[in-house]
């Protein structure tokens, strides 16, 4: 895809920076605990050292990405991070569905939430016809309920309706 290489470099830059920040945060968190205790490693020693290592590695990664960006400068145009133009929509819908499922599961209960979740994904991520969506949602809910609650005796959330 034209320009993908250049665009991905910017994403790689952000990625390297993020890992650098993660390393920093772990170092800061580790420093709150003792690094050394009577000459022996304390609770903070191992994560502190690892944080430094991560910062070092991500710094080198950052240098490498900047080097490649400068090397490719002017040779490629703008491009997309996503494979297809509408990919970001599908992914956003999927992630929203996941988060809503997690948030409402204990409130609405497993059967209702599962049915709505599957239906939502089948209608809005890769749209299927209503009969298929409703059918698959219903069958999946029933089978998963039987499998987890009846067979494996897992305590699933019952929600406001108590089922």
């Amino acid at each position: 895809m034209p320009g993908t290489k250049a665009y991905m470099k910017k994403q790689n830059l952000i990625g390297s920076l993020c890992w650098f920040v993660v390393g920093c945060l772990f170092c800061v968190g580790a420093a709150k605990h003792r690094l050394l205790l009577n000459g022996l490693p304390g609770a903070g020693f191992f994560p502190f050292v690892l944080g430094i290592i991560l910062m070092t590695l991500s710094f080198f990664d950052l240098i490498f990405v900047i080097y490649r960006m400068r090397k490719d400068a002017g040779t490629t145009g703008e491009g997309n991070f996503f494979t297809k133009p509408d990919s970001w929509k599908k992914l956003s819908i999927a992630v929203v569905g996941l988060l809503v499922y997690a948030s409402a599961l204990e409130y609405l209960g497993f059967p209702i939430m599962t049915f709505l979740f599957i239906l939502f994904l089948m209608r809005f991520v890769e749209p299927q016809k209503w009969p298929i969506s409703l059918g698959v949602s219903a069958v999946t809910t029933i089978i998963s309920y039987v499998m987890f609650s009846v067979w494996l005796k897992v305590l699933l959330p019952k929600g406001i309706l108590g089922i």
Binding site: M8, Q11, N12, G15, W19, V22, G23, F26, G29, A30, H33, G39, L40, P41, G42, A43, G44, F46, P47, L50, G51, I53, L54, L57, D61, F64, F81, T83, K84, S87, K90, L91, A94, V95, G97, L98, L99, Y101, A102, S103, L105, E106, F110, T114, F117, I118, L121, M122, V125, E126, Q128, I132, V136, T140, S144, F148, L152, K153, L155, L156
Partner: protein, 499 residues
């Protein structure tokens, strides 16, 4: 002595519930091997919560069955759809699909199944012969040796990654850091729990893996869309001909031996074994130019090697307590969840688990041969299930599987967070395999490191003064420096795909 062990192995494996668990494991393994988009890592993590209700023997038998079962299933999609079901079946696409295109799908599938059976059985025999003496040697290891072997194992996995070594090292470091979350083993200090009581015991292995391998994989597939082109061909003559057997005998024999020993290496396993087998057969062939056009050697060798490699990979886990790839790291997680520590003491403290697994692997390989040939028609139908129907189910099983661990929505949020992180990692070519392996080994590495430094009163020299430890540390440092050394000599690292 060996006969006694065999008797124990089969008496445990032939118990009805263990037989059932073996069957479920290999069946599920074949199924997920057939279905692209869901690998053994995600499936094993999905089923980990279910194993809580089982005995340790049943749990390990089932999960092991999934691992070597998926090697069988992966060949079906490689041959019929030209999309590898598993990374270890990538090379099978090269010649297997070409055989299917000229109406030889049946012999390709048949020789893949028989080769897998022979390779898998060979590996089990070697496991049975090598594991007891190796465990005796490993009993002499102390904390410095354990720490250095784990360090070497982690380094090997990062070296074996397909992408940038630097990034693999970064991910290994991140995995070790994630393993620091929770209560520190030696001092009992709580670290990085951010005020959440759920993190006092650390991040759970299951939610992390489900997120990185389950949710992330589905997000990637949603983005790409379902691009499978199924080859409409009649599948007949599953039994290879005499000529097929004659052409395949050498590759199968070599695949068994090389595959097994490659599986022993940390970072090794089925994938590397299959790649090297293909390269070897091409080199040894009188007509290497025919590879890639549909030669049976290109299917027989790799498919044998990947199953032999799967068996070989069990030895470091069971005898040393070192998982050499991410799938076995999950299996190790299963051991730990059932409060069993794999390693040199496994044979003495829990012989029923070791020999039960060995016995079930014999039986599992027979089951797989029986499943794969007559049920080809079923697997073909499964392949045709649209991904648009599969992906919501995968999401659901990931989320509910995570919820069942502690009946807590917190675990679901962890799965989702790691799913998003895993998706971004894949897009930016940061491999999750070194992260997961380091996450599993990290707490043990820190514990052994601390104990070693206690023994030496804070001196790191202990890792160099003890010979076994010194060898592994030196090898690890050499591996870390190898990309730079290779660059200086003008050579490039050969890419291998992770499990």
């Amino acid at each position: 002595m060996l006969l006694d062990h065999l008797h124990m192995a089969f008496s445990i494996a032939m118990e009805p519930t263990n037989l059932l668990m073996c069957f479920i494991g290999v069946f599920l393994g074949t199924l997920i091997g057939v279905l692209p988009g869901l690998g053994p890592s995600a499936t094993m993590s999905l089923l980990l919560p279910i194993t809580f209700t089982q005995t340790p023997v049943q749990a390990i038998i089932m999960l092991s069955g999934i691992y070597y079962g998926c090697q069988y299933g992966g060949s079906t999609t490689s041959i019929l759809v030209n999309i590898p079901g598993e990374s270890s079946s990538v090379v099978t696409c090269l010649d297997g699909y070409q055989m299917a295109r000229v109406g030889r799908a049946g012999p390709a599938l048949g020789i893949a199944a028989f080769g897998s059976f022979i390779g898998g059985t060979f590996a089990v025999v070697m496991l049975m012969l090598l594991a007891p003496p190796l465990s005796l040697i490993a009993l002499k290891f102390g904390p410095p040796e354990n720490a250095s072997i784990m360090f070497f194992g982690l380094t090997m996995v990062t070296y074996m990654s397909s992408g940038s070594t630097l990034r693999a090292l970064m991910m290994g470091t991140v995995g070790l850091l994630l393993g620091c979350i929770g209560t520190e083993v030696v001092t009992g200090v709580e670290r990085f729990n951010l005020g959440f009581s759920e993190l006092v015991d650390g991040l759970g292995l299951v939610p992390v893996i489900m997120g990185l391998f389950g949710i992330a994989e589905v997000l990637i597939n949603i983005e790409k869309g379902d691009t499978r082109n199924f080859l409409e061909t009649k599948i007949k003559n599953l039994l290879p001909t005499k000529k097929d057997w004659k052409d395949s005998a050498g590759p199968i024999a070599r695949g068994s031996i090389f595959g097994f020993f490659l599986g022993l290496l940390p970072g090794g396993g089925a994938t590397i074994a299959s790649f090297i087998s293909y390269a070897l057969e091409k080199r040894l062939s009188k007509h290497p130019e025919k590879f890639g056009t549909g030669v049976i050697e290109g299917v027989a060798g790799p498919e044998t090697a990947n199953n032999a490699g799967t068996g070989g990979a069990f030895i470091p886990l069971l005898c040393l307590g070192i998982p050499c790839n991410v799938v076995l790291a999950i299996l190790m997680g299963a051991f730990l969840i059932h409060r069993i520590t794999p390693g040199p003491l496994l044979l003495t403290q829990h012989p029923e688990i070791f020999w039960g697994v060995v016995g079930s692997m014999y039986i599992g390989n027979i089951m797989l041969l029986v499943l794969n040939l007559p049920l080809i028609g079923l697997w073909v139908k499964v392949l045709k299930v649209p991904y648009t129907i599969l992906f919501p189910l995968i999401f659901l099983f990931c989320l509910i599987g995570g919820y069942t661990l502690n009946n807590s929505v917190f675990d679901i949020y962890i799965i989702i967070i790691f799913g998003i992180v895993g998706y971004l990692m894949k897009k930016l070519h940061y491999e999750p395999a070194p992260l997961v392996l380091a996450f599993v080994l990290g707490p043990m590495l820190e514990e052994n490191l601390s104990q070693s430094l206690l023994m030496s009163k804070g001196s790191f020299g202990i890792f160099f003064s003890r010979p076994i430890s010194a060898v592994f540390v030196a090898l690890a440092l050499l591996l870390i420096a190898s990309p730079l050394l290779l660059k200086l000599t003008g050579k490039k690292k050969a890419p291998f795909q992770g499990e």
